[in-house]
Subunit: 120 residues, 2 copies
């Protein structure tokens, strides 16, 4: 383990081979996990500068501000990093549904013994 | 987008090139994100069979039941999948601190303009 990364007070993200960290987004009001995505350095910088969650879209290969087309932006209330700094947690106030399917959260199904059950 | 994966009721996880999905763990009682890790098919199977969160440790290259040495297991209350089934969210009752540092959550620091500030 990298002691500076774990115990230090400097933001020193550990990007993977693709230059990404994992980003988890939760809703300040409900505590629900809204989505999981990835961020590169530019996405981190844009999010910190604007206060609006911006990711790196692996599918599109470019910076992607959440809500840039739908209007459903995620206003970042707080950003945290985990012990080894390869993941960030953003607590947000969402302007609308976080999922492109229209669901409030991308995690709208729970796993049961029989398969998936819609819960949101 | 894969319509079956998004709209269906079958668990059909989309593992990445390394055979992994991202796993987010939150505390049922507090709603806090406790940790982010990865799961392969065997970890999914073990978690569902035992009700205790099991991951694939990329560092150790093997299945890793959280708490196997520390005793701080994570009892899974509910498991959800996201729209494209490349991430799972587990809501858990933790037996103790989730972080190997002894912190309740791995996300014990928030990002400020000046750097990182301990919050948990």
């Amino acid at each position: 383990m990298d002691q500076d990364r774990e115990a230090g007070t400097a933001l020193n993200l550990k990007f993977d081979a693709a230059g990404l960290v994992t980003a988890v987004v939760t809703d300040r009001a409900t505590g629900a996990v809204l989505m999981v995505a990835h961020m590169d350095q530019a996405a981190i910088d844009a999010t910190r500068a604007t206060g609006e969650a911006t990711f790196f879209s692996r599918g599109r290969g470019r910076l992607w501000k959440k809500g840039e087309t739908s209007g459903n932006i995620l206003r970042v209330v707080e950003m945290r990093v985990d012990c080894d700094q390869d993941a960030v947690w953003m607590i947000v106030d969402p302007a609308g549904p976080a999922c492109h399917t229209g669901a409030t959260s991308c995690f709208y199904r729970r796993v049961t013994d029989a398969g998936l059950e819609r819960v949101a």
